[in-house]
C-alpha cells in the first residue's frame, strides 16, 4: 500500500496495524504542509529527513536543553551533568542496541505510529493537533537527525 497523502486517522490506523503485527509490508508517505515529506516502511523511517546523517554532539545538546527536545524531562539518559531526569518514559541508555536508526527516527518523528496512546510528543508533526500555539513542529528536520545520530551511539549500558 502506498498513499501520497494519507488522511491522518487512516495513516495512524495503518501505521499502528502495520507495526503492531510487525509486518513490514506497509509503506506510506507522510506529507504535511511545510514539513519535509517522509516514508514509513515497516517499523521505521529509513531515510534521514535531511537526506544525510546528523551530528551526535549536537543531538546530545538538544536532548538536554529545556528549549530543545528536552528529552530528559521524561527519560533517564547518560547525561550526568544534568541533575534530575524524568522517569515517565523508559531509560534510554542502551537504546542504540535495542532499536535501529530507522526505528529511533520514527519514534522521534511521531511515536503515535508505534503506539496510538503514547505519552511521548511527536517532534515532527503539525497536523491534527489541538490548541497549539505555534504553527511549526517541536523540532526541525536537522534537529531530529542530530538526535537520531546521538541515540544510535547509546550502546552497551
Amino acid at each position: 500500500m502506498s498513499r501520497r497523502r494519507p488522511p491522518w486517522g487512516a495513516a495512524l490506523a495503518a501505521g499502528v496495524a502495520a507495526l503492531s503485527v510487525g509486518a513490514l509490508a506497509e509503506t506510506f508517505d507522510v506529507r504535511e504542509p511545510s514539513l519535509a515529506p517522509y516514508r514509513i516502511e515497516g517499523t521505521g523511517i529509513a531515510r534521514p529527513l535531511t537526506g544525510r546523517a546528523g551530528d551526535p554532539a549536537r543531538g546530545r545538546a538538544i536532548a538536554r536543553a529545556r528549549t530543545g527536545g528536552h528529552c530528559i524531562l521524561c527519560h533517564a539518559m547518560p547525561i550526568p551533568e544534568e541533575p534530575a531526569h524524568g522517569d515517565t518514559g523508559p531509560d534510554l541508555a542502551g537504546v542504540g542496541d535495542r532499536l535501529s536508526g530507522a526505528e529511533i527516527r520514527l519514534r522521534i518523528v511521531n511515536p503515535k505510529y508505534v503506539l496510538a496512546e503514547s505519552m511521548m510528543p511527536a517532534y515532527y508533526r503539525i497536523e491534527g493537533l489541538h490548541r497549539v500555539a505555534a504553527g511549526r513542529p517541536l523540532l526541525g528536520a536537522e534537529d531530529v537527525e542530530d538526535l537520531v545520530a546521538y541515540l544510535a551511539t547509546l550502546k552497551g549500558r
Partner: protein, 260 residues
C-alpha cells in the same frame, strides 16, 4: 462440559474485569497533592504561622468586613461576621446558578455579590483582593470534605469537564490524564506528578512567590505542554473545575496549600 465451565468462568472473569474497570476511578480514594510534596513544603503548609498563603487569608478576613460599592455593604453584612458560617458553601463550588442559567465558581460568585448586591465593580481574576477573598472563604472550609454538585444541570458541566481533561492538546499533544492519571507518582525532572487535585486552592507557589488560583494552575499546565492557555474564568476551565471537584470528592480542603 469442561468447555462449558471454562467459558462460564471466562464470562465471570470478564464481567469482573469490566465492572472493575468501569468503577475503577470511582472506587480508588483520591490522594491530595500534599502526599507528593517534599517534606519541607509539607511542614510549611501545615504550620499556620509559617504558611505564606495565610497572608492572603488574613487580608481576605479584612476585606470580608470592609463595606464597598454604591450600596456601601460588606460581605459580612449579608453573610454574618465570620465566614465560617458559610464554610459549607465554599466546599461545594462550582454550582449551578439557576437564575443565570450557568455554572459559577467561587470567584464568579464573589463577583456576582459585588456587582449585584454591593453595586461595586467586579474584581479582576487573579487580582490580590479576589485571591484573598477566595482563600479566606476556602480556608474557612478547611478540613471539610470537598463535595461536588453533579446533579441536574451540573451533570452536563461535569461531563464537559471530563472531556476537557481527556482531550490531548498543545504541541506536546498531552491531556491532563496523561500526567495526572497515567503517570501519578512518576517524575518530570524535578517535578513529582500528583493526581492534579484541587483541594488546596488557591495555592501558594514557592517558585512564583505568590498565591495562585486553580485556573492559573490550569494555564500553567496548558503552557507546559505548549498549548494556547484559555482565559481565566473560561467556561471550559469552570467545567474542568467541576470535574476535578467530582473527582476529588471526599478529600479534605487544605487551602492554602504550599507547592513548589
Amino acid at each position: 462440559m469442561i468447555l462449558f465451565r471454562l467459558s462460564h468462568g471466562l464470562v465471570a472473569a470478564l464481567v469482573l474485569l469490566t465492572t472493575g474497570v468501569a468503577q475503577g476511578d470511582d472506587r480508588r480514594p483520591p490522594r491530595s497533592g500534599l502526599e507528593f510534596v517534599a517534606p519541607g513544603l509539607r511542614q510549611l503548609q501545615e504550620d499556620e504561622f509559617a504558611n505564606p498563603g495565610m497572608l492572603w487569608v488574613m487580608r481576605g478576613n479584612q476585606l470580608w468586613r470592609e463595606p464597598a460599592g454604591a450600596a456601601n455593604k460588606s460581605c459580612a453584612d449579608c453573610h454574618g461576621k465570620e465566614a465560617p458560617e458559610n464554610a459549607g458553601a465554599a466546599a461545594g463550588y462550582p454550582r449551578f446558578d439557576a437564575a443565570r442559567g450557568r455554572p459559577v465558581n467561587l470567584e464568579s460568585r464573589i463577583n456576582l455579590c459585588r456587582t449585584e448586591e454591593m453595586r461595586a465593580p467586579p474584581l479582576a481574576y487573579e487580582s490580590e483582593p479576589l485571591l484573598a477573598l477566595t482563600a479566606y472563604f476556602r480556608h474557612a472550609a478547611r478540613s471539610q470534605s470537598m463535595v461536588a454538585d453533579d446533579s441536574g444541570a451540573m451533570t452536563a458541566v461535569v461531563a464537559r469537564g471530563r472531556q476537557v481533561f481527556e482531550q490531548r492538546r498543545g504541541a506536546f499533544d498531552l491531556a491532563c490524564r496523561h500526567c495526572h492519571e497515567l503517570n501519578v507518582g512518576k517524575s518530570l525532572r524535578e517535578e513529582r506528578i500528583s493526581e492534579g487535585q484541587s483541594n488546596g486552592f488557591p495555592t501558594y507557589r514557592v517558585s512564583w512567590q505568590t498565591l495562585v488560583s486553580l485556573h492559573r494552575r490550569f494555564q500553567a499546565c496548558d503552557t507546559a505542554v505548549s498549548a494556547e492557555p484559555l482565559a481565566l474564568g473560561h467556561d471550559d476551565y469552570v467545567a474542568l473545575e467541576a470535574y476535578l471537584a467530582r473527582r476529588g470528592t471526599g478529600l479534605a480542603i487544605e487551602t492554602p496549600a504550599v507547592r513548589r
